[in-house]
């Protein structure tokens, strides 16, 4: 049942992208995502495509893993495409019944679809090449300046990391409790919405009780191992920028510049 769900889609491989500092990857991905909205023409798309394809090649992650993430957004993508197609004003291309498709609309729809696909692939490329721990480390490090505003940066990162550890355990536990209540004749599959919601109580109460017990135990175990927040802690795996990270940043800057420049060149009568 529930144990089939896998979390964190890290794909182990020995590539330059895997070896990059997670901060570089996080910043790079952010710049890439922003760059997708900086152009409205073919040349800009070409630049983004070249960048994305070379990153995928460098990462040595099979392409089918990137596409996996797409399934979840197919519906959202269809809706955006349809809305863009019919609701954008401009030169009418096709008219039927009460709908009109305009040239602008068609262009918008295609661009939005491609943008969304690139967005998802770009983001999955990061999660596929970075372990959840590295990600939390990078987030903690990058958000450090926010400490000035009394933001509990270390605590938030620690919470994320603990959540990552306990999600599989709690999923397993949910599965066990569901089976146990099923053995007592509980039914989670039939009935109307209210009945089904009610049938969740025998799962949720034990699950919460167990989660609190675990939280209590864990807090004690952490204290016993001298944990007292982020002050005075050293790191077993400190983040360190290497030469490859410097090179990566240069590439990212070049890419951004290229997109901005190419994004202003228009070709042909449709303004591609």
């Amino acid at each position: 049942m529930l144990r089939d769900i896998t979390l964190g889609q890290y794909y182990q491989a020995d590539s330059i992208i895997h070896k990059l500092d997670p901060r570089t990857k996080l910043i790079g991905t952010f710049v890439y995502l922003v760059s997708l909205f900086l152009f409205r023409n073919v040349a800009g798309f070409l630049a983004a495509t070249v960048f994305l394809v070379s990153m995928i090649k460098l990462s040595r992650v099979p392409f089918k893993f990137m596409v996996r993430g797409m399934k979840s957004i197919v519906v959202i993508m269809m809706i955006t495409v349809v809305f863009n197609m019919f609701l954008t004003p401009g030169e009418p291309l096709l008219k039927f019944w009460r709908f009109t498709i305009t040239d602008e609309g068609l262009k918008n729809a295609v661009f939005t679809a491609i943008r969304l696909i690139y967005l998802i692939i770009g983001a999955s490329l990061m999660t596929l090449t970075t372990t959840p721990n590295q990600l939390t480390d990078a987030l903690e490090n990058l958000m450090n300046p926010l400490k000035v505003f009394k933001l509990p940066v270390h605590e938030v990162a620690m919470m994320m990391s603990i959540a990552l550890r306990f999600i599989p355990i709690l999923l397993d536990e949910t599965d066990k409790i569901m089976r146990a209540q099923t053995a007592r004749g509980a039914d989670f599959e039939h009935g109307n919405l209210v009945q089904r919601a009610k049938s969740l109580v025998p799962i949720l109460v034990p699950l919460f009780v167990s989660a609190f017990r675990r939280a209590n135990d864990l807090a004690m175990a952490m204290e016993a191992r001298c944990y007292s927040g982020g002050e005075g802690r050293t790191k077993m795996k400190p983040l360190r920028y290497e030469k490859r990270d410097t090179i990566s940043f240069i590439i990212i800057v070049f890419y951004l510049a290229a997109v901005i420049v190419l994004g202003r060149i228009t070709i042909g009568k449709f303004g591609l």
């Binding site: 099923t182 025998p202 109460v205 016993a224 802690r233 790191k235 077993m236």
Partner: protein, 601 residues
């Protein structure tokens, strides 16, 4: 002054109601004075609620004394400025392996303590490597803790403490949630720490086999130290230990009985070798017992035989598994055959013991009995009807085949005990009145006190909660009761109570029982037929004698025989003229006594 010193230590838990008024005070520790020297291996024994865990938390400065004081390496644990150095000097391991691992990768978890202490990066790596080496988990350094067995997780937790370079390690029931193999791993690691690394170990437990190697045993009850001495001294007082909700290993128990029956054995025998050596010596000296010495054991033997006879008449099959296989994620790369062509017949009124190591498929098997798992191939018949057929009423099956999961108290959820027990019967479609009646008789059958019916189920002790959970299944009036490790985590007395309860249900309510257990002793004592599972297949089945006779085959798959079987086999090997095929203490006692009276029957 020793490394851990407690002086007139007392601790009170104060319960408050919603307004903050004091509702009740529980004195969990009541005047404990103890001096533990550096390098000792001290075992602290005690039943549930004896205060032993509360005591452990004081050594780690997780709790502070209400009265008296605790000193760790000369430092008062109650002083705020000592907290961190105390926790570093005296590391602590907890019971639940999952709830004390913080890191998502083994090495990161081991590094957590040193990170908190502010150790430089280089040195952290060095310490992590050393610590993993000591507990034998080095090759798992890059693994996710979720993929490890319970024993391995517990060893990672130990490494996590070792990496902090403590002088003393306190282990608070580290083996309570593990299978026998995991228990051995953890105890071996603890002993290595003590012997090789010279770390002081304080082991809190209620498994008696684990304290045999301790240099000193401390027994606690109701917050007080009631016994203290070497394992031999402690184990000589079998009767007193039993009063304290504890028991002794089978070999000690058997020796104690034999002594009582008139054999001049020494007191507090701890291992098999000791006993066989003594017996051989007696034999050599031509020691003789009068025939009358056999009378008490004969009586017990007859009583046991009487009980077992009741169930042994050929009864009708009630549940039949016919060539059942179960495959996880069929067709993919990680296809797992959890059950492989299993055929099994369960007859009405039987008491079956199901044994197999963790991951052998026994849990998957029992979940087939009530249709929670659906066989990939093969058929299952309940009272002649195929339960795999479409349209079979699964709910009805689940009321007839009651399944009590491991740690069943974790499914309790209602606001009071009575409502919780009603959950099953109401799901069966019974009217409110009928359900309440069923719940009432179920709670009565498990011996739950009436004045607790309308209290929250979460208020009770572990053993009582387990009774409520079992009543929740019993209230559905099952014909077959399947219990997955019903004694896990209970102290010896609690274990005997639950097993006694199951036996009583079997006898008085004529319920067919399938008992899944890791304890060969329990299975040998209670089951009429044993089914051993390994690798998704049925390895052997038969009476306890038939199965445990093949103990060498059982050992090959990570199982074993009861200790008494080994004792008599050892005697036989050393030239004792005796029938070695026994599975219970009473049988062994009879055989041995008999060989000293000279009569043969």
């Amino acid at each position: 002054m020793g490394i851990v010193v407690a002086k007139d230590l007392a601790f009170e838990y104060i319960r408050r109601d919603e307004e903050g008024n004091v509702e009740g005070i529980t004195r969990a520790i009541d005047g404990v004075t103890l001096n533990i020297k550096a390098g000792e291996f001290v075992a602290v024994l005690g039943g549930n609620g004896s205060g032993k865990s509360t005591f452990a938390k004081h050594i780690n400065a997780l709790l502070y004394p209400t009265e008296g004081a605790v000193y760790v390496d000369g430092k008062d644990t109650a002083a705020a400025e000592n907290t961190w150095s105390v926790r570093q000097t005296a590391g602590m391991i907890f019971q639940n392996p999952d709830n004390q691992i913080i890191g998502n990768i083994v090495e990161e978890d081991v590094g957590f303590g040193p990170e908190n202490m502010g150790i430089p990066t280089e040195e952290i790596w060095q310490r992590v490597e050393e610590a993993l080496q000591i507990v034998g988990m080095k090759k798992y350094a890059k693994h996710s803790p979720n993929k490890l067995s319970g024993g391995q997780k517990q060893r990672v937790a130990i490494a996590g403490v070792v990496a902090m370079h403590p002088k003393c390690i306190i282990m608070d029931e580290p083996t309570a949630m593990l299978d026998p193999e995991g228990r051995h791993e953890v105890i071996r690691a603890a002993r290595a720490l003590n012997n090789v690394e010279k770390v002081t170990v304080i082991l809190i437990t209620h498994y008696m086999e684990e304290v045999i190697h301790a240099s000193r045993v401390v027994v606690m009850d109701h917050g007080k130290v009631v016994m203290m001495g070497t394992p031999r001294e402690i184990f000589s007082e079998v009767e007193k230990l039993r009063e304290l909700r504890l028991d002794v290993p089978q070999v000690t128990m058997l020796s104690w009985y034999l002594r009582k029956d008139g054999l001049p054995l020494k007191k507090g025998i701890l291992d098999i070798n000791e006993l066989t050596k003594e017996l051989l010596q007696l034999k050599k000296s031509d020691f003789r017992l009068p025939e009358t010495a056999l009378n008490p054991v004969r009586k017990e033997l007859l009583a046991a035989a009487e009980e077992k006879k009741k169930g042994s008449d050929e009864q009708l099959p009630i549940l039949i598994l016919d060539h059942v296989s179960y495959v996880y994620s069929e067709g993919s790369n990680d296809e797992i055959r959890a059950l492989d062509d299993v055929s099994l017949t369960i007859r009405k009124g039987e008491f079956i013991g199901l044994i197999g190591h963790t991951g052998s498929g026994k849990s998957t098997l029992v979940q087939h009995l009530n249709g929670l798992n659906r066989a990939t191939s093969g058929n299952i018949y309940f009272k002649g009807e195929d339960i795999c057929e479409k349209g079979y009423d699964m709910r009805k099956l689940r009321s007839k085949v009651g399944l009590v999961f491991q740690y069943p108290e974790h499914q309790l959820f209602e606001e009071n005990v009575f409502k919780d027990v009603c959950f099953g019967p109401l799901n069966m479609g019974l009217s409110k009145k009928e359900a309440e009646l069923a719940a009432f008789s179920a709670l009565e059958a498990v011996g739950f006190p009436k004045d607790g019916f309308y209290s929250s189920p979460f208020e009770f002790s572990g053993g009582q909660k387990r009774r409520i959970a079992i009543a929740g299944v019993l209230a559905m009036k099952p014909e077959i009761l399947v219990l997955d490790e019903p004694t896990a985590g209970l102290d010896p007395k609690g274990r005997d109570e639950i097993l006694g309860l199951i036996k009583e249900l079997h006898e008085t309510q004529d319920i067919t029982v399938v008992l899944v257990s890791h304890s060969m002793e329990d299975v040998a004592n209670y089951a009429e037929r044993i089914v051993a599972v390994d690798n998704g297949k049925i390895l052997m089945e038969g009476s306890p004698r038939e199965v445990f006779k093949r103990y060498k085959e059982l050992e090959a798959v990570g199982l074993a025989a009861p200790q008494v079987t080994y004792i008599l086999n050892d005697l036989k090997d050393k030239g004792f003229d005796i029938d070695e095929n026994v599975t219970t203490i009473t049988e062994a006692r009879y055989r041995i006594l008999n060989s000293f009276t000279g009569s043969r029957d």
